[in-house]
């Protein structure tokens, strides 16, 4: 199953995602915070990012799902959880607070790393620590 192609394919997909983040402006926390600042100097650009991304994914997914299985894996592996519970909503609420403080969500934080801003270098390890804490919290 072309196992050796997986890292290369992953890298190319990541590059494409990163280009999208940079070109759209989503990799710039100032732009993200302007989008979230609806009562101030509101910049609605990120609504266009979300629209462009989800409409493309909506159409593309439906083409891909005609296949019996993905190209490099044995089967599709989609999230199976259906319940809207406290963990989902509480987690989303905390995430939104962090997003509103720093202007970074996980993708843009990674794609900002190599530009080396001190704020980014503080944010990314803290994000990894937060993910790690969440793994343990979910087991309790």
């Amino acid at each position: 199953m072309a196992t050796s192609l997986r890292p290369l394919a992953g890298f190319v997909a990541g590059l494409l995602f990163g280009f999208g983040l940079v070109i759209s402006g989503m990799a710039d926390p100032a732009k993200v915070l302007s989008f979230l600042d609806v009562a101030g100097t509101w910049d609605p650009s990120l609504a266009f990012v979300m629209a462009g991304a989800s409409v493309t994914a909506f159409a593309g997914y439906r083409l891909v799902w005609r296949r019996e299985r993905p190209i490099l894996m044995a089967r599709f592996d989609l999230p199976s959880a259906r319940r809207i519970d406290a963990s989902l909503l509480g987690g989303a609420a905390l995430f939104g607070m962090g997003w509103g403080i720093g202007g970074f969500c996980p993708g843009p934080a990674w794609s900002a790393l190599a530009l080396g801003a001190p704020g980014t270098l503080a944010f990314v390890p803290a994000m990894l620590a937060g993910l790690w804490i969440a793994r343990y919290a979910r087991r309790i």
């Binding site: 890292p7 990012v49 963990s87 989902l88 989303a92 939104g96 509103g100 720093g102 944010f123």
Partner: protein, 143 residues
Amino acid sequence: MDLPPTDFTPYLSLLGGALIGLSAVLVMALFGRIAGISGITSGAVSGEPAERRWRVAFLLGLVVAPLLVWAMAGDAPSQTVPGSLTAMIAAGLLVGLGTGLGSGCTSGHGVCGLARLSPRSGAAVGTFMATAILTVFVLRHVL
């Protein structure tokens, strides 16, 4: 947090968004998985090696992309990151903890979840958009 106001860029943002969507479709076609960055980040450090490698490579692609844009455009991508390290550490912890507990972020619940018409993702997106807007409102207009 005094960050500069930014220009409205509908066409570039739409184009960039389409590239993000295309990457999500590629991840589905190749790996049969959701292109959620918080999930890919978690999966890059745990799980079996075969599942880890492509995720590490994906994150590497994310890191390298702005450098390639920089090399091609001649200018570093414009970016203003909040300067308070204390605030950025708090923000990072909240983003990691929140996306871990909530099983997804702007990409997993936002782009991919909405594209799958998942009610769970819809609820998550509504919640994190609301608390993000509220947080910015409090930080910029109340405090």
